[in-house]
Symmetry: C2
Subunit: 245 residues, 2 copies
């Protein structure tokens, strides 16, 4: 069984933001693609397990960001599974460009029943999981559990989930959450600051046509975001940044 | 001088819509990337001419769509310049997957002054243009000039242009126009219909934070869209579809 997996991607013209550097949601899409390819080799790819009425969903993400490469650079992604519990698994990614750190990323995953959308025991679907854990390498920190209190606050924006937000899991694509929170920050921020850390908690699935309220707070060198549907928290994220000197 | 250029791309996990087939805006991003790579070899890439204070902008697009491939398929893109006028150039793309037609696409481009945003004579920036036109191959039809009358109509939606909509040209990325119009169609449309033709007219640049009104009409087997800012038409598109039998 192939415990580790590497893939290389070119930063295409449309993968940058206006500054010419790799956009962070696109970085996230590349690591998720790398993860999909690795899971395929392992025989537990989303398109395989969906036939047995199961699917993977992401419950948390943690990004530690170095230097974001520019258009036409190549990125190398190394991935492996670091640990698991009866219902979740941690997958780490080490992303470099020309040998320099782009980002270390950890992701937490659950398997859910595709019909009931409830979590199932990982070993029911993937009995061999213990055999694919790599313990011989560095582990990326797990995502931070975020607890915010936006009681009494007004949303900074409300959006309706659209066709382009929905992935093959028929819910909002994880990187769309990130895109929509970054869009709440003024555009000049991205030329004057580097984002250094992101922690994201995916609490509940969000579906087509739902109306989502976005709450936002700036504390020191962090932005905190929460998405709610009918007052219920669905997603939280904390974004730490550093001013470019 | 390299008159023709080919590149190959894998359809990554995030390049499909919820049906698992290549999303049309992502197809558009791949052909634009292929065009960027070809222009680089020609020495007139956007990142080269911007240093002389010029940039490329798209004025029209025409898609004739065959079968959209699924995740993990490869697409091959063949491109060449088909014709030019004193201020515009037509670039064609032939996209196939496993030898089968994905789409034939034509695109019309202007060079503008990056400061004044006004068109300039193509030959002022690219004197050798006549030498790179390929006349020995089939030409894709030019985009249709669209004339709609939405006077007295109410917009079907209004959106504010966000950070994630803006490209290195510091205006709304051409494929975002397409994404935002497709989002006005009900999601079930995409499993019951195939889009066969798209014509798009880019009339004026749209900028960060501008409020855009979207107008929409369904006529026979076509959707017609117009985007307006303060009542001024900025973009028009016509999308022709065919019911899946």
């Amino acid at each position: 069984m192939l415990k580790k997996f590497d893939s290389r991607y070119r930063i295409n013209y449309n993968n940058s933001d206006y500054t010419g550097k790799l956009s962070i949601p696109d970085l996230g899409s590349y690591v998720l693609d790398n993860s999909g390819l690795h899971s395929e080799i392992m025989g537990v790819n989303i398109r395989t397990i969906i036939k047995k009425n199961y699917t993977w969903v992401i419950s948390g993400l943690h990004f530690e960001i170095g230097d974001l490469p520019t258009i036409n650079s190549f990125i190398d992604i190394h991935t492996k599974l670091s640990s698991y519990t009866p219902i979740s698994i941690q997958r780490d990614f080490f992303v470099t460009s020309d040998g320099k750190k782009v980002a270390d990323i950890s992701s937490d995953w659950l398997i859910i029943n595709a019909e009931t959308r409830q979590p199932v025991f990982l070993t029911d679907v993937y009995p061999a999981v213990a055999n694919v854990i790599s313990e011989d390498e560095r582990v990326v920190s797990k995502y931070k559990h975020l607890r915010f209190n936006f009681a009494g606050c007004k949303p900074v924006s409300t959006f309706k989930i659209a066709y382009s937000d929905i992935d093959i899991n028929k819910h909002m694509y994880s990187m769309k959450y990130l895109e929509k929170t970054l869009n709440r920050i003024d555009i000049d921020f991205f030329k004057n600051n580097n984002i250094r850390r992101i922690d994201a908690n995916y609490l509940s699935e969000m579906l087509y046509n739902q109306d989502v309220d976005v709450f936002m707070k700036e504390i020191d060198n962090c932005y905190q975001f929460e998405m709610q549907i009918d007052g219920k928290p669905m997603y939280r994220a904390e974004i730490e940044f550093e001013k470019i000197k």
